[in-house]
Symmetry: C2
Subunit: 231 residues, 2 copies
DNA sequence: TAAAAAGATTAGGCATGACTAAATTTATTG
DNA sequence: CAATAAATTTAGTCATGCCTAATCTTTTTA
């Protein structure tokens, strides 16, 4: 006798936007070293734990996760690959909105949540090209490449940790508060800005930098929230 | 006694992507002067007429259409406004894909169908700005502005109808066949290309044009498929 | 280590949107 | 103008995902 499956599996080629959200949530917990429990996922997605149990059954049948009741879910290779693809899309769209459309770094998340579900590998690869194959998004988070490889975020350093004489480029921020981003705007500090650390004032932790022939002083509070990539 | 509504109305603030598709289909028929019958809509959306009847009930309760059973549907002001907003999004995204990402004019429709459902007026207004507030999409169809005004497509002319001495810019095509678009590519004819009609050869209908200091001859078959805006 | 608390799963519903088959209305035509 | 054909609507289902309430498991704690 054939065993009846506990959960119905849908046989579509593409993973629905809904299911993709679950995969992304599981990946996000996994990267933090946390267990993908039904309660943790339900908190992330604003649903009820019971709904998560149901979806775990579906994703399990689709071989996107390995799910052991009461023990949480783990992404399969295919599930992880799809989740990383979503992260790639999300971060590329955020980069597009900030760099090309002039949005502030804290305004783009929600819209990117929608854009990431647009289904076209060609679109995203061309967007990647259009943006110059960036390695990091406006928040300093690494953008996976088209093969799913993720640059090491550790290659970014907080500007306050840079030594005198170092050349570097602004890549992201640790804080996305409105006042902070406005302040950056006022000082002309944008993504990609190249600069050299000229002097570090140990008295108050501020540093003097040269950028595009101009010299300025950045406060300690400022440089502790700025991420850069050493050139 | 209170009358029970024939169809349930959902009380969400935003119109679901699904319902938006219906509004767009109704608008499209309306612009062609055709009646929005259940069969016509079902053909457009690849569904069954019975499904359309159901959705007409829903849209009617939401005051997005006026629906009289057996008589078809008409958009209300609100319904029309939402449909036009979709068309705007669709055509701006198509323009973006062609002009910025290098897609061909016949490759962009399906992806734009997805992008048009991204919900953010700010996003689309900034995209419009980024693209330079274009009046026509790559197919020569007018792009509604942020207030819903649509330019008159009649301000475009087929290049074969231009008179000698006229300055004009390429704005679209009548055919989107692969071979035609490749041919345009070969000749360096792109959207926005400015040119002047120098001579019309009545013998075979070909015309001589000057563009960016260069002179070339376009065949009759070619110019009958090209749309331009007189400068 | 047994009882209580916390977490997860099952059971039973509901809304959205789609489908098929049957019934009804409108249009066509002999 | 009646009868058939075509179009439309109604009735009854189904899949996806969500919810609440009730029932397990697992973990904590006395």
């Amino acid at each position: 006798m054939s065993s009846t499956p506990k959960y119905k599996s849908s046989s579509s080629l593409t993973t629905s936007s809904n299911r993709q959200d679950y995969l992304k949530a599981i990946l996000s917990l996994d990267l933090k070293g946390a267990k993908a429990s039904t309660s943790a996922i339900s908190a992330k997605l604003n649903t009820q734990p019971a709904s998560v149990t149901g979806m775990f059954g579906v994703l399990s049948n689709l071989n996107l996760i390995n799910y052991i009741p009461y023990k949480g879910a783990k992404l399969t290779d295919e599930g992880r690959s799809q989740a990383i693809s979503l992260v790639r899309k999300h971060r590329l769209w955020e980069t597009f909105m900030v760099e090309k459309l002039g949005f502030r770094w804290d305004e783009v998340h929600e819209v990117a949540e929608q854009l990431e579900h647009v289904n076209s590998e060609q679109l995203i690869d061309r967007l990647d090209d259009f943006l110059g194959f960036p390695n990091f998004d406006p928040h300093g988070d690494p953008i996976p490449d088209s093969l799913g490889n993720i640059a090491d975020r550790r290659s970014l350093v907080v500007v306050s940790d840079l030594e005198v004489g170092k050349m570097a480029s602004i890549r992201g921020v640790l804080s996305s508060s409105d006042s902070f981003l406005k302040h950056l705007d006022d000082l002309g500090i944008r993504l990609g800005l190249e600069f050299e650390v000229v002097k570090v004032y140990t008295y108050d932790g501020s540093i003097q930098v040269d950028s595009a022939g101009e010299s300025m002083i950045w406060s300690r509070k400022l440089v502790e929230q700025l991420l850069a990539e050493v050139n």
